[in-house]
Each structure stands twice: as structure tokens, then as C-alpha cells.
């Protein structure tokens, strides 16, 4: 709870700093503040508690995911320094919105009441709509923001409708009570309908097939840093929330519902991967790759043992690889109006370090040892086979093979093509973020138990 308050306080502090004209200090103060918040959050790990009549429930699940979100936000805030170099006047807006977004994210994983859940999702979404269209002179960014807003508010509406039906069925918004009631023999028919509607709305937020159509366009049109945020932070927030919602409210997921999850998961992986193969724009490619990873992460809903730990591990490895990849993309496509793959030609020669980091990030996403992505897939497959879904795992394996095709397209472009420009700039922040993110990723690969056993 104090984490949430501290984050909001930090966001307000950011706005105040602008009023008093300390713009230069905003990013360092935010980073230091976030590190302090991270410490505060970790201190809450071993003291689960409920606040305000179960509005907020701080548990191991919520603190460990919040820690991941805070780490990701630190990276994203650090990257803002370079990204908004030419727009220093509005720097506080960008940073403050990111901090409020983080507050929404933390609320989403620590809710104990559906009202709080909806509040969190709206805070997060509205911040994202603004960030998507934050490059206000670019028509693409405006289009992305508008598209995301229209589609997103539609999804929010569906979620709200679902929540209403659940309330109608159960007479409460409190998820513990809902969970207890859901074991009773006689359930009104609109309880499952409500669950399905909330599920659909959340599938939209995590961009799973068949609700993924917004993702490529919005990812492509948004400023690169926002895309980084959407594909790392926003994605893992949404999947963690969906996981919490379904496990908390509907403890025994019925067989039919499991079939639905299997189908959505298979479809997401397959469609995401096959569409990604055809993309020439790196942001679009990563959008589709994100769709397929959403499919992988949905598999955790079927797992029976240590599902939360597996999801935390998978989302950490995916998000860290994403941060590393996007910091290189920010570097390469800085001051360019597109992110086409030919911008990456010859990066292996002009900037071997960043090329190696991007290669590492992509290898992690593709699931090659010794990167964390491999272990994430291993644990996921292991647990899923244990739960008895061997056919789903085989589809997932085939998809992992397909995904090599597009991840390696980018690697090939970096190493097998001649450079078409000289790159001399060596922005410190981008190097630092990329190196730390990939080192964390590899460290997770070497010591998976650190994260995996947190929620066991």
C-alpha cells in the first residue's frame, strides 16, 4: 500500500519540480525515487496485509510483480532522457505520466475488489492513450493514440459490463467473497458470462488473438519509447492481472473454459508468429512477437503447480529482453521517421556491443539457452506437460521454431549486410540500460530459482 502511495507522491513531485523549474533534476530524482520505492516494495514482501476493507491486498504475488514493474519503469524513465532530448520542455509530463501509469499497474496486481481493479486498468490505459499520441506533431502517433483509445475504451466497456454481471450474480465486488461464493452449487448463468466478458476485455489488453488487431498499428505509430513501454510493461501488467483475476475469482477453472484458453493460446502463438515473419518494420515485428508471447503466457492459466512463479519468471525474462532490444532500437532509429529493418544493416560492424546485446535479447525471446527466455519456456513447457496439455506444448514448440525465422532476420541484417551509415554517437544512458537489462536477463538464466521460487 505504501508503495502505491509513494509512487503517486513521486509522480506529483515530478509535476512540482517543473513548476519550480528543476527540469534537469526530474529524471535523476525519479530514478532515485523509484529505487527507494523498489526497496519499500521489497520490504512489504514478507508482510501480506489487506487495506481499506480489502480494496487493496498486498501479497507476495502483488509485491513481486510490482517489483518487476518498478524495475521496468526505472529503465523506461532512464531511456526518456535520450528520447525526449529535443523536447525538454515537456519532460515532466512524460515522466509523470509514466509514474502514474506505474501506479495503475501496481493497483492492478494488488486489487482485492473489482472496483479497484477497474480503477487501476483505467489509470494505466489512459496514461497509455496519452503516451501513444504524445508525439503530437506526427500524424502516425495521433492515429495510433486515437485507434488505441477507441479500441481500448471499447474493451474497458466490455470489462465494466462483465464486472456488473458478476456483481449482479454475486452481490459483491470483493474477490475473496466472489471466490467463496463461486464454489456454491447454484450459480446464476450471468456469473460465467461476466467472467467471459472480463476475460475478453483482458485478452484485448494483452493483445491475444482474436483481439490483437490494434497492436501492430498502435505499436508502429506510437513513439518508440511508448512502444517499448507497451510491449514490456503494459503487456506483463495485463497478463499478471488476468492471471490474478481468473485464479482469484474462479478458483476451479472449468473444462470448457480450459479449452477456450488452449485455443486462444494456440491461436495467439501461431497467428503472431506467422504474421511476424512478413514484417519489415521492427516495431510491427515485435508487436506480433508480443502477440505470440501473450499466447505463451496464457499457458500459465492452465498450470496447476507454481503457476504464478512461472508467470513471473516468464514475464521478467520477456520484459527484460524487450527492454534490452528496445534500447538498441531507440539508438538505431533515433531521429529516423521509421524503424525498418534496413536501418539495422551492418550494426555488427558499426556498433558491435549494441548489436551483440540486441542479438542476446532476440535469442532470449527465441528461447535459446543460456538466456532467461529458454528457462522461461522450459518451466512453462514442463509445467504444462505436467498439467496434461502435451498437444499445446507441441504447438508451442513448433511456434518456437517458426519464431527463429523472424528473430534471425534481424540478426542477419546486423551481421550479414554492409552498413549504410556511420554511427558515432555513444549515448551513455542507452548503453547502461541495454547492458543492465541483458545482464539481468542472463543472471536470471543462471539463477532461475531466485525468481521462480518466490511465489512457490
Amino acid at each position: 500500500m505504501s508503495t502505491l502511495i509513494a509512487i503517486i507522491g513521486l509522480g506529483i513531485l515530478c509535476l512540482l519540480l517543473e513548476i519550480f523549474d528543476f527540469r534537469k533534476a526530474i529524471i535523476p530524482i525519479s530514478i532515485i525515487g523509484l529505487l527507494a520505492v523498489l526497496g519499500l516494495n521489497i520490504s512489504e514482501f514478507n508482510s501480506p496485509e489487506a487495506y481499506y476493507n480489502n480494496m487493496i491486498i498486498v501479497s507476495k504475488f502483488s509485491t513481486s510483480f510490482s517489483a518487476l514493474f518498478i524495475v521496468l519503469t526505472i529503465f523506461l524513465v532512464a531511456l526518456s532522457h535520450k528520447f525526449h532530448e529535443n523536447n525538454q520542455a515537456h519532460i515532466s509530463d512524460f515522466i509523470a505520466i509514466k509514474l502514474f501509469l506505474l501506479a495503475g499497474a501496481v493497483a492492478m496486481v494488488s486489487f482485492g475488489n473489482l472496483a479497484m481493479f477497474f480503477l487501476g486498468i483505467e489509470v494505466l490505459s489512459i496514461a497509455l492513450y496519452v503516451l501513444a499520441s504524445s508525439d503530437r506533431k506526427s500524424i502516425k502517433s495521433n492515429e495510433a493514440g486515437m485507434k488505441y483509445f477507441l479500441m481500448g475504451s471499447f474493451a474497458s466497456g466490455i470489462i465494466l459490463f462483465g464486472i456488473c454481471l458478476i456483481y449482479g450474480a454475486m452481490g459483491t465486488f470483493d474477490i475473496t467473497e466472489i471466490s467463496e461464493l463461486s464454489y456454491s452449487a447454484e450459480l446464476p448463468v450471468w456469473f460465467p458470462i461476466g467472467i467471459i466478458l472480463v476475460f475478453i476485455g483482458m485478452l484485448f489488453k494483452i493483445a491475444a488473438v482474436p483481439f490483437h488487431f490494434w497492436a501492430p498499428d498502435v505499436y508502429e505509430g506510437s513513439p518508440a519509447l511508448t512502444t517499448a513501454l507497451m510491449s514490456t510493461l503494459a503487456k506483463v501488467v495485463a497478463i499478471a492481472t488476468l492471471f490474478k483475476l481468473l485464479t482469484a475469482m474462479n478458483a476451479e477453472i472449468s473444462a470448457e473454459f480450459q479449452t477456450v484458453i488452449v485455443i486462444v493460446s494456440m491461436a495467439s502463438m501461431t497467428v503472431g508468429n506467422i504474421m511476424a515473419l512478413r514484417q519489415v518494420n521492427v516495431k510491427r515485428m515485435l508487436a506480433f512477437s508480443g502477440v505470440s508471447h501473450a499466447g505463451f503466457m496464457l499457458m500459465t492459466l492452465l498450470i496447476t503447480t507454481n503457476a504464478a512463479g512461472t508467470l513471473l519468471y516468464y514475464s521478467s525474462s520477456y520484459a527484460l529482453a524487450g527492454i534490452a532490444a528496445f534500447s538498441v532500437i531507440l539508438y538505431v532509429c533515433y531521429n529516423k521517421n521509421n524503424e525498418d529493418i534496413n536501418n539495422f544493416h551492418g550494426l555488427g560492424k558499426t556498433n558491435p556491443l549494441l548489436a551483440a546485446i540486441l542479438t542476446g535479447a532476440l535469442l532470449s525471446m527465441a528461447g535459446i539457452p543460456i538466456f532467461a527466455g529458454f528457462f522461461a519456456k522450459l518451466f512453462l513447457f514442463n509445467q504444462t506437460i505436467q498439467a496434461g496439455y502435451i498437444s499445446l506444448v507441441i504447438v508451442a514448440v513448433i511456434n518456437s521454431i517458426i519464431s527463429i525465422g523472424y528473430y534471425f532476420k534481424l540478426i542477419l541484417a546486423m551481421y550479414n549486410k554492409e552498413p549504410n551509415e556511420v554511427r558515432t554517437a555513444t549515448p551513455f544512458v542507452i548503453y547502461a540500460v541495454a547492458v543492465i537489462a541483458i545482464v539481468l536477463n542472463i543472471a536470471l538464466g543462471f539463477f532461475p530459482s531466485l525468481v521462480l521460487d518466490l511465489l512457490a
Binding site: I368, F374, L378, V397, I404, N416
Partner: protein, 478 residues
């Protein structure tokens, strides 16, 4: 002496080589690879003294994965092959100027590290990690330092990568399935599993995809010739000399003991595939115009025979297979090195552009001839010992297998000698052929010496591997 020391030396070597800069890289890499060879010899010594050289440490609690390295005679034999060939391969590249030399030498050592790990791992998942890890360095070696048009090379290399990775992922699923049954990835626990024939068939099939692609066996060989042709000489040597032995080793170490009944059930098909590879490889090799491609197809023929020997499931077959693995490793590295020596002087791999070299450099011609003869398993060479043992084991199952497999020697002699004739004999070539220098000669002489010494006296290796193979055989026949 502990096996982990070997891995530490190779990994540290890779790192220090990278840090030592382009000028020193090759020498630093050579020193570390020789150090690794020394450690292998010391390990051999420790093993014969009966010391405990294994290394087991818990790694991940849930699922239970251990960092377990274990060495028996078979592993040590493969380690000796790896660590003996790595310095030879590094040494043989001294005459080649590489751009960004520190990276390639570092990658070579890293690959040796991953391959040594594959031969040592006693935990299924650790084994899988090393197996996959060895793929990344060879991918970059072939992609960045390879020859020919960049686009062609890209297609060949990516095909190779996707092929091998696809096969291994099914192996991963098989391992996870086995884990569900055994509750552990440790090799003894997997050996002890009692699986039904149906389960064994599926698991055997998943392993088979991984290994048949890596070895390669027909019909999974389509990546091979192109990659051998496009990769730089060091890459081809690593691939053909050591990496494909990983597949053959894994068949003996993992596939057969874990799913023995499936292997017995499908023995005829498996031996048939191996022998089909022999005949197909030999016939295709006959028609090759590119020296490296010819050697690639000849390699396909030889490994087909080795695989057939392994799948014969008797002691002679396994023993012959391992002996031939080692012999083939040395001979194929020697032959690819010869191709590289010729390329350094003539800048061509096209056999038609060669010829008449022998008169200019008789010493080189003699060494080359010995390698050619060793490759066709002339008695007194190491390859004869291996191929003969394999053919003998095949004849015990069905005489026709031995007859058909024996074509490797007849057809092999035909295409190899024909190749030698076109490359070396004939009118003196108008282009001057500089005498081989000391470095080149030294590497070739070592290879030839190994082939002769163990050809005449294979007992040490035989004694080294037989106890482990007998143990594996008892597991197979449990």
C-alpha cells in the same frame, strides 16, 4: 583433477582470447586449447587411477536440475578428440587472415567449451543446454567469416540453424516428458525408467529428429553440403570433425539406453537409413565439382556407416562406431585442411581448376595421399580399424548389411582416388604452388601420425571405451 576444470579453462580461454586483441588472439587461443588438451590427458590419467573426477552440484530446485558432469571412458575419448582437434584447427588457421580475429578465435574456444560440456553432462537438461549452446558460435562463424556470396551463405546458414534447432526442440519435449516420469533429469534415473514400447517409440523419435539432423542421416542431410561449402575452413572442420560426433555420441549415450526397445523394434529401418546414407553419399560425391562439397558428401557416407554401427546394438557395433568417430574426426579435419591449403594458393575449390600439383610439392602430395587412403580405410590406418569393426558387427546381424555398407570402401576408394587424380596428378600446373610451410606441414603430420599410431595399435582407445560401452549395453539389454 575434476572435469569442471576442463570447462573452466575453455570458457576462460574464450573470454581472455577476446580480450587479448586481434594480434594475439590466435596464439592465446592455441595456448588455452593446448591447456585443455593437457587437462584431458590428466583426466584420462585420473580415470585410470580410479579417482573421482565427476562434478555434481544442485542448480535449480523446481524442476530439479543439477549441474552434473560425469566422465567415463567414452566421454574421455570424446573429450580427447575435441581437445586434440581444437588446437589443430586453431593452428591450421594461422595462415589465414581473419577480420576481427579475436572474435572468431574466441568463438572457436567457446564452441569447444559447449561441445566438451555436451560430452560431459550427466543431467539431461544440462546436456541439452550445452547441445544448443554449441550451435550459436558455429552459426556466427559460418555467417560472418564464411566464403562466397553473402546472400547464399545466409540462406545456407539459417537453414542449418532452423533445422538443427527444430530437431533439438523435440528432444527437449522428450526430456520434459521423461522428467515427469522420473522426477529428475539425471542420466541414471532416466536409464532406470521403465517405459512402454509406445512411449519409447515417441521418445526415440523425438531424439532421432535431433540426432538425425545433426549427424546428418538421410533424409535430414539437406543442410549439410551447402554449409560445409560456405563455412570458413575452421568452421567446416569444427562441424565435421567434432560437432557431428555430438550427434553420434548422443545416440549411444542417451537415445539407445533410454529407449532400447524402440531401437530394437526399428533396428532394420535405422540400419537401413545409415546404409542408404553410405550409398547415397558416395554416389553424390562421385559427381561433385567442388572439393569441399565432395568431402562433405564423403563425410555423409562415413557417418552413415557409423550410425548403422551404433544402431546394430551389439558391442562390436558400438565399439567400431566410437573408434570410427575418432578416426573420421581426424581424417576429415585433415582433408578439409588440405582443401584450405590448396585454396590459399589457387583461390579455388573447383576441382577442374586444379591438377598437376604433385610435381611441384611432393611432400604435400604424399601427406594428402595418406589422408585419402586413410579416408578409404586402408589397413594400418585408424579408419580401417573402425570401419572393419562396424562392418563385422553389421555382418553378424545380416550379411547383406555388411555387403552394402562395404560399398563405402569400394565407392569411397573410387571417388577419393579420382578426386586425388584430378587435384594432384597430371601435367604440371601452370600456376605455381608454393611448398607447404612449417605450420601447415606440422598440422598435417600430426594428423597423419595419429591415424597411423592408432591404426597399428588401437588397443589403448579400445580399452578406454569398452567398459563404458559394456555398461551402456547392459542398460540397453536390461
Amino acid at each position: 583433477m575434476n572435469v569442471s576444470l576442463l570447462l573452466i579453462i575453455l570458457l576462460a580461454g574464450a573470454l581472455i582470447t577476446y580480450l587479448s586483441g586481434d594480434k594475439l588472439a590466435s596464439k592465446v587461443a592455441l595456448v588455452f586449447s593446448l591447456g585443455a588438451f593437457g587437462v584431458s590427458i590428466a583426466l584420462l590419467n585420473s580415470l585410470s587411477l580410479g579417482e573421482d573426477i565427476n562434478f555434481v552440484a544442485p542448480w535449480i530446485n523446481q524442476p530439479k536440475i543439477a549441474f552434473a558432469l560425469a566422465a567415463d571412458g567414452l566421454s574421455i575419448a570424446m573429450l580427447l578428440l575435441t581437445t586434440a582437434l581444437t588446437p589443430i584447427i586453431i593452428f591450421s588457421s594461422f595462415g589465414t587472415e581473419f577480420k576481427n580475429a579475436k572474435s572468431i578465435y574466441s568463438l572457436i574456444l567457446f564452441m569447444a567449451f559447449a561441445m566438451a560440456g555436451t560430452f560431459l553432462a550427466a543431467d539431461g537438461l544440462l546436456y541439452y543446454i550445452f547441445w544448443e549452446l554449441s550451435l550459436i558460435p558455429i552459426y556466427f562463424i559460418a555467417l560472418i567469416w564464411g566464403n562466397g556470396d553473402a546472400e547464399d551463405r545466409k540462406d545456407a546458414v539459417i537453414k542449418f540453424f532452423i533445422y538443427t534447432l527444430a530437431g533439438s526442440l523435440f528432444m527437449l519435449v522428450a526430456f520434459i516428458y521423461l522428467y515427469q516420469k522420473a522426477g529428475s533429469f539425471m542420466i541414471e534415473d532416466l536409464y532406470a525408467l521403465d517405459l512402454t514400447l509406445e512411449e519409447q517409440t515417441w521418445i526415440f523419435g523425438a531424439f532421432f529428429l535431433a540426432y538425425a539432423i545433426k549427424i546428418p542421416l538421410i533424409p535430414f542431410h539437406t543442410w549439410q553440403a551447402k554449409v560445409y561449402q560456405k563455412a570458413p575452413a575452421v568452421g567446416t572442420m569444427l562441424l565435421s570433425g567434432i560437432m557431428l560426433k555430438m550427434g553420434l555420441y548422443s545416440v549411444i549415450r542417451w537415445q539407445l539406453p533410454i529407449a532400447p526397445n524402440a531401437a530394437k523394434e526399428y533396428m532394420d529401418i535405422l540400419i537401413g537409413l545409415g546404409i542408404a546414407g553410405v550409398i547415397y553419399g558416395s554416389i553424390v560425391a562421385l559427381r561433385q565439382k567442388d572439393l569441399k562439397k565432395l568431402l562433405a558428401y564423403s563425410s555423409l557416407a562415413h557417418v552413415g556407416l557409423i550410425a548403422a554401427g551404433s544402431y546394430a546394438l551389439n558391442l562390436d557395433g558400438l565399439r567400431g562406431a566410437v573408434l570410427q568417430m575418432i578416426a573420421h574426426g581426424f581424417v576429415v579435419v585433415g582433408l578439409f585442411f588440405v582443401a584450405e591449403i590448396i585454396y590459399r594458393r589457387y583461390e579455388t575449390r573447383n576441382i577442374a581448376d586444379m591438377g598437376g600439383i604433385r610435381k611441384q610439392t611432393p611432400k604435400f602430395a604424399s601427406l594428402f595421399l595418406i589422408l585419402v587412403l586413410a579416408s578409404v580405410a586402408l589397413p594400418t590406418t585408424f579408419n580401417f580399424v573402425g570401419e572393419f569393426t562396424v562392418l563385422y558387427s553389421l555382418s553378424q546381424i545380416n550379411i547383406w548389411y555388411a555387403v552394402l555398407g562395404g560399398t563405402t570402401i569400394i565407392l569411397g576408394a573410387y571417388y577419393m582416388l579420382k578426386m586425388y587424380q584430378h587435384v594432384m596428378l597430371g601435367e604440371t600446373n601452370t600456376k605455381p604452388f608454393a611448398e607447404v610451410n612449417f605450420n601447415e606441414g606440422f598440422a598435417l603430420v600430426i594428423i597423419v601420425a595419429v591415424l597411423f599410431v592408432f591404426g597399428i595399435y588401437p588397443k589403448p582407445i579400445n580399452d578406454l571405451i569398452t567398459p563404458s560401452l559394456e555398461h551402456i549395453l547392459t542398460v540397453i539389454n536390461r
